[in-house]
Symmetry: C2
Subunit: 416 residues, 2 copies
Amino acid sequence: MALIKTPVTGMKDILPKEMEIRNYVISQIQETYASFGFSQMETPCVEHIENLCSKQGGENEKLIFKILKRGEKLNVEAATTEAEVVDGGLRYDQTLPLARYYANNNKDLLGPFKALNIGNVWRADRPQKGRFRQFMQCDIDILGESTNIAEIELILATSTLLGKIGFKNFTIRINDRRFLKAMAAYSGFEEKDYDDIFITLDKMDKIGLSGVKEELLASGYEAESVEKYLDLFANVTGDLKGVSYLKETLGDFLPADCAEGLSEIMEAVDQTRTAEFNTLFDPTLVRGMSYYTGTIFEISMDEFGSSVGGGGRYDEMIGRFTGQDVPACGFSIGFERIVMLLMERDFKVPTAKEKVALLLEKNLSSEKKIEALRDAKELREAGKSVFLTVMKKNKKFQKTQLGEHGYTEFKEYFNR
Amino acid sequence: MALIKTPVTGMKDILPKEMEIRNYVISQIQETYASFGFSQMETPCVEHIENLCSKQGGENEKLIFKILKRGEKLNVEAATTEAEVVDGGLRYDQTLPLARYYANNNKDLLGPFKALNIGNVWRADRPQKGRFRQFMQCDIDILGESTNIAEIELILATSTLLGKIGFKNFTIRINDRRFLKAMAAYSGFEEKDYDDIFITLDKMDKIGLSGVKEELLASGYEAESVEKYLDLFANVTGDLKGVSYLKETLGDFLPADCAEGLSEIMEAVDQTRTAEFNTLFDPTLVRGMSYYTGTIFEISMDEFGSSVGGGGRYDEMIGRFTGQDVPACGFSIGFERIVMLLMERDFKVPTAKEKVALLLEKNLSSEKKIEALRDAKELREAGKSVFLTVMKKNKKFQKTQLGEHGYTEFKEYFNR
């Protein structure tokens, strides 16, 4: 029986042209983040199913590619539930594996641990254009740093990277989960309703103030609270003044150091950044993941409708492995989106080698073959990429094809 | 419930120190193979279970990490066999995925296709020291090249790479499956017995000529054939003369171009190589995989008992996807072994950045923080790796720890 030629549903073969761009972006990531003192680490692609299915997963649990038990541990015939036949799964993000890694290896790591984590994750999402079931994530995280030095360095490193690979005029939007909570509390909402309210708030950029108001009222919240809540958003600005306004207005609803901490992040970033971008205080920024505990951030670019990266502080994740909380803050860039954008721009990798093709007449003598190999050796030592191949009957067509793959210089070898 | 801190059985977390060496080796692989005209490509980690379990797999099939079906397609309760509950598996090598990739993407690839394929593979082997269930493979393959230019370039590229990362005095042993067959036929063995005979022959380096003889006789083969067979091995030498000797002795049992082809490979490699190594004609070299059809090769190093790489020609693999055979030849290096050896040698990555740590007094003012960040920016722009962190009470111990992680230069920041 013939084998199946196409990749499995929702995953893709990566062609050399895209691979070249991916490798270039990865090399820039490694270079840049190393300069910020991040160390690259790696976890296995497979994680314990117990860890992946712990409640933090939520919706993600359904999307896990689960791995069958093996050998004697597996009894398909007797099994009636999924749980009985699986013992592992492919990681669906890198945050949970990083927390496990830190809990497992802390004694061998420099503290604070500044981690660079580049790797594939797998999610059995419904396949759609530009979204795949295997995709690369690229995260930086600082574990064990409770001060806002973590946030500042994460934002500076990420923006420096984006600048290096040619992006400018992007916006980094910043908020703090504690602002979100304080604004809701100040307006008179009950804590049990916060998550629901934030889901509506998150739609602000799509449905606007009036849309959010309508939806909150439709959900049955007190008109007075909704009014008070939306007044805050109507009055706040996206700069340091906006932070001060909320600090004054919210008073004791806001933890003491929250506003100063955020202002300091914005100011420090503005004064020491290398790339061209804007920082924006955005009190409507929610970020979906429930594990965030403090600052949250997101990058947007005009070329994209949605975010090309984001992150925040999640001080309580590692405690789930060790019983003891460790301050943690991370920033993830949308690697696949960035690659896609570079592909669309027909980006030329600046570090690519010059390409030379050596065409050898069919049945070339040993002596001539060795001559060609010697030439190839010299050209390679001079930094070029040399493609040595047998000359085809239709040499012109062959050269055209080679040209399409970047080979523009040719040398030919004949028996006489 | 607390989560599980350790990685899944048989897989490992990679610490920053090892990661640095891995990344360095990968960068040298990419650089070197690009100079030989190889293009990097990638397939998804998950493959169709039908492809993985096609008969080529053999023993490997039992080692596959299989992936559970999802959603409506899965009915654990009704299922009685593994096949009913799985639809994919993690790849256990890169050769089958490469053949599928080529069959799927041939129209977009330059012919011959010179592929560099670096990626993890997964095998549920019994865990043992130094062997893991997830490990990196690094293969180069030339698809669509029927002449021995493929073999020559593969050997030159691989040996150049090994030389660049500091290995010398390794040996590349070369044979051809057609020699193996011709020697068995000449000695009077039956074709149905070849595989069994080769399994015994493969033990030559461990049990010697007399051991092989005993085992063949014990298996019930004709004494006359065994005698004739072993005479060949007793008389052959590991150089071009050995190839000539077999050519003359085997006569018509050997395909016409086989000996010349092999001699030419050895001669061309010897005359145009860049690294210091030996090539050796080794008619006892078998290579386990049944898919090899012609030349086979293997690298050995004194530091290791066993092989650190190998490969060969497998002209019939791609036909299993397309119905049409495509000449193919590949060379794989033992990436994990090479990394292990470099770790043991306490290898220092030559491209590593100089490391500077900036220590900030606790509760440093915004102004001073920004001063430190400016210094960090300058140092980073000068190519250094800068680690910015809060000064601990026990500063001496902190510096010792930083020193252990390569930070030997310090700068301190105080409020006054």
